[in-house]
């Protein structure tokens, strides 16, 4: 199926991610672009949201599940050799739903009193069902339009469920060179124009890009070899992105950490996150919700509407005006700049449907960025289920109405920093009066730096890290689960600490006071400069500088989450019962700001001994200590 089999209603050529030196209005362009359309085309004229292949996918799944349970019997648990041998459930699990994060119970609408995050992982036993390597899903079709005059075509709203997106195939030298010249990167994001708080300059981008594209080429070959070794049709992977991937293993994990080829990303994320299972269990559900929610107006849709145009305004697939901006002399009519792109329309449907499907979450700002990034790589139905998987299983409650999950995860992150990067804690962990916060206070009065780090969790680094770096983290996230967010966050913190600019600001070790705001600004802007993903990933997993965070286990994170969640819930209920009493504003303020909290702490003092179940990984702590002794 090629692009040109798209329905006759096909109109509107999505902007070529290039600057105005490339005319996009058809015939004048004769470059050697290859565009990869990662999405299948729904049957023309059909108003159906659902991929016609879903049913066959479903059948396949049943078949393969049987096949796999038979296979599993003979399986040997894998060892996580890439890590520091903590041996506690680091991706050994092969089952899709049986991976570590499935031990996190789905959150519900009730409040968090009892801490619904429970338990440890199943240490690699394949308890769950497995979406197998033999699953055939034809829901992704790659279309190559070599030597074409028209770059990418988008469908009109008559086929609303397939926002076309493309990722430039930079293995083609001509395309590669065009990306270098262009103001836009291969995903359609505007390259930064000047050095500053918003990251890096276009020039620096290009220098990096030249090197990195060679890396990508080598990496793609490794992937192709892996696929071949797993009997996953080489031919298929040459012409279109594969829809099935090898089962989880150490080898695969290593390669995932090296990065998934961009044109395969959407399918690989979906596969390893357990998307096929989710989708097959809910055939037609998305379509139904979209129908039910059409034209709905409520608090959520109001906020969604305000956020649509504030989602990737620097990306051509989301911002029509970028297209016209560099196409001044095109024949397009002048209203083009005001139209919504297909991606914006998809984004609206996905977010509205999600708010409807997960009423205890509704719409939370930051979901727009998560959905937006997914939409660059997959069609909207899949995007929808990926959001569901993320919020149910990977980072539950982070987007809930009271954001309690964010607070809990920040508490966990702060405890980790205190334990594993004590030098940084010495700086971050201080309150405004220079007093270092103790464990008890971390949990209830999060240090203000968590205002910076919470967005790392809510947006899973979208907008915090440069795009390519974000994508590499996402490769790992969908495969390895939420511990990846903690590992990467700690790595960023560590890199901050080691940066000379930070050192000069922070006066590490000198005991001097630091301007908190400068510290926050630094922590906020620093990640945007990590343009080379390999530096971040290697720092995390390869122990650059003597230590990394690859051995921080999901089990440790889960136990810590449970601990923090429980303590916070206890404090909250205690606080509420005290505050319920009738008192004047004056009294309340006095109570709050005086001994009130201290009192609570005395009652519920979180002493180390109480942190039951939290076992720090001494391996990391000791390495840290060694390193900083020098």
């Amino acid at each position: 199926m090629s692009l040109y089999e798209a329905p006759a209603t096909t109109t509107g050529h999505l902007a070529l991610p290039t600057d105005k030196t490339h005319s996009r209005s058809g015939s004048s362009y004769s470059g050697n672009y290859s565009f990869i359309n990662m999405y299948d085309c729904p049957s023309p004229g059909s108003s159906h949201a659902v991929d016609p292949t879903v049913e066959s996918e479903l059948e396949e799944l049943h078949l393969t599940e049987e096949l796999n349970s038979a296979k599993r019997l003979g399986e040997v648990a894998e060892v996580d050799e890439g890590d520091e041998g903590d041996g506690q459930g680091q991706g050994q699990g092969q089952g899709q739903e049986a991976d570590e994060d499935s031990s996190v119970k789905e959150s519900d609408t009730s409040d968090s009193k009892d801490g619904t995050i429970v338990g440890s992982d199943t240490s690699g036993t394949n308890a769950g069902s497995q979406v197998s390597a033999t699953m055939v899903g034809s829901s992704s079709v790659l279309s190559l339009a070599r030597n074409s005059n028209i770059s990418v075509s988008t469908r009109t709203s008559s086929i609303p469920f397939d926002p076309t997106s493309s990722i430039l195939d930079i293995s083609d030298q001509a395309v590669h060179d065009q990306v270098l010249k262009s103001n836009f990167d291969r995903y359609g994001f505007k390259k930064p124009s000047s050095e500053g708080s918003n990251g890096v300059s276009g020039e620096r981008y290009n220098t990096w890009f030249k090197d990195y594209s060679r890396y990508l080429e080598r990496n793609k070959k490794k992937w192709q070899a892996l696929m071949k070794n797993n009997g996953l049709g080489e031919a298929e992977s040459r012409t279109k992105p594969p829809n099935r991937f090898p089962p989880k293993s150490d080898k695969v994990k290593k390669l995932i950490r090296k990065g998934i080829p961009a044109e395969w990303r959407g399918n690989a994320w979906f596969f390893y996150a357990g998307g096929h299972e989710k989708l097959n269990k809910h055939t037609g559900v998305y379509e139904q919700i979209v129908r039910d929610t059409e034209g709905v107006h409520n608090k959520d849709t109001e906020v969604i509407e305000r956020d649509l145009n504030r989602t990737f305004p620097d990306n051509i697939y989301f911002n029509k005006s970028l297209e016209t901006k560099h196409l001044k002399d095109s024949q397009l009519n002048s209203s083009a700049g005001k139209e919504e792109t297909q991606s914006i329309k998809s984004l609206r449907r996905v977010l509205v449907a999600f708010a409807h499907y997960q009423p205890h979450i509704g719409y939370c700002q930051s979901l727009n960025f998560l959905a937006g990034l997914l939409l660059l790589f997959m069609r909207e139905e899949r995007c929808f289920w990926m959001l569901v998987i993320l919020t149910e299983r990977i980072i539950p409650k982070v987007h809930s109405a009271n954001l309690e999950g964010v607070h809990i995860d920040q508490g966990v992150l702060m405890l980790c920093i205190k334990e594993y990067i004590p030098q940084l804690w010495g700086i971050l962990g201080k309150n405004f009066e220079g007093e270092t916060l103790s464990e008890d206070k971390i949990l209830t009065r999060l240090p203000p730096v968590t205002l910076v780090t919470s967005s790392w969790f809510m947006s899973v680094f979208v907008g915090n890290l440069p795009i390519e770096t974000t994508l590499r983290v996402w490769d790992i996230l969908w495969y390895e689960g939420s511990k990846s967010i903690f590992r990467i966050s700690l790595t960023i913190c560590k890199m901050c600490l080691e940066d000379t600019a930070f050192n000069s600001r922070g006066n590490v070790g000198s005991g001097a006071e630091i301007d908190q705001i400068e510290l926050f600004q630094f922590m906020q802007n620093y990640p945007k400069t990590i343009i080379d993903p390999n530096i971040l990933i290697d720092n995390c997993f390869k122990k650059i500088g003597g230590y990394g965070f690859g051995s921080l286990s999901q089990d440790e994170i889960n136990k810590c989450r449970e601990f923090v969640g429980k303590q916070r819930a206890r404090l909250t209920s205690k606080k509420q019962s005290v505050m319920k009493a009738e008192m004047s504003d004056e009294e309340r303020r006095a109570l709050q700001s005086s001994g009130f909290d201290g009192e609570i702490h005395d009652v519920y003092g979180f002493h180390r001994s109480i942190m039951s179940g939290v076992a720090w990984n001494k391996n990391i702590s000791n390495r840290m200590k060694k390193k900083w002794k020098k």
């Binding site: 009066e433 009065r445 240090p447 203000p448 205002l451 947006s459």
Partner: protein, 225 residues
């Protein structure tokens, strides 16, 4: 300017208000003098700094700006934002009634929870969109007047709400607003420029002096929310 007389003061300013009223846009106009028609929504918070110089008192006032996310559910983070804040900008969009009542809610909350000496400024943004105005200037003025009268009859010190309008897009009124706030802050009490930086950054020095008395006793026990 005479060196001996030049003074320096640093204050924490927090922006509050409904999503999309233009908080980040105002900050960017103030800090970088730029405006983007499409700015990404703020997740969590954003930190920036900018200084203004007050010629009449030869004082440089440095604002630590805490730009916040506007959606309702981020309110659980609010106490962290305005803890230790010296000034708060409650922003509404003059073309949206609901954003005005949201700003009123913020003022209520600040009066209840925030440090006592906090300077509150109620700002109507997007005045470039005059034709779409939904919030009447007169009405806002009356609301503020009433508020300030209550304040003084309750015998509370200072704490008058400042009223302003601006457009981040055109730039009208933005710098003026920050200047008015700077003047309302107790710079007189703040640490002089000759003092060393370290001292200034210690919250217990420069900023302590700039805030009301009562809330100080809390500090040892509570750093943030």
């Amino acid at each position: 300017m005479s060196e001996a007389a030049e003074r320096f003061a640093q204050f924490k300013l927090v922006l509050l208000g409904e999503s999309a009223v233009g908080k980040s846009s105002i900050v960017h106009r103030f800090v970088k003098n730029t405006f983007d028609n499409m700015r990404e929504s703020t997740i969590g918070a954003a930190f920036l700094t900018q200084s203004v110089h007050l010629a009449e008192s030869n004082t440089t006032v440095k604002f630590e700006i805490w730009d916040t996310a506007g959606q309702e559910r981020y309110k659980s983070l609010a106490p962290m934002y305005y803890r230790n804040a010296n000034a708060a900008l409650c922003v509404y969009d003059i073309t949206s009634r609901s954003s005005f009542s949201k700003a009123q809610d913020w003022i209520k909350e600040l009066k209840k929870q925030a440090p006592e000496g906090i300077v509150i400024c109620l700002v109507g943004n997007k005045v470039d969109l005059k034709d779409e105005r939904e919030v009447d200037e007169q009405e806002v003025a009356e609301y503020v007047e009433e508020l300030n009268q209550e304040q003084s009859s309750a015998g509370a010190p200072a704490g008058k709400v400042i009223l302003a309008e601006c457009s981040a897009k055109s730039g009208d009124g933005v710098l003026e607003t920050f200047n008015v706030i700077a003047r309302a802050l107790p710079v007189e009490d703040a640490v002089g420029g000759a003092r060393n930086r370290q001292l200034r950054n210690k919250r217990s020095s420069g900023v302590d002096l700039s805030r009301g008395r009562q809330q100080q006793q809390s500090q040892a026990a509570s750093s943030c929310c």
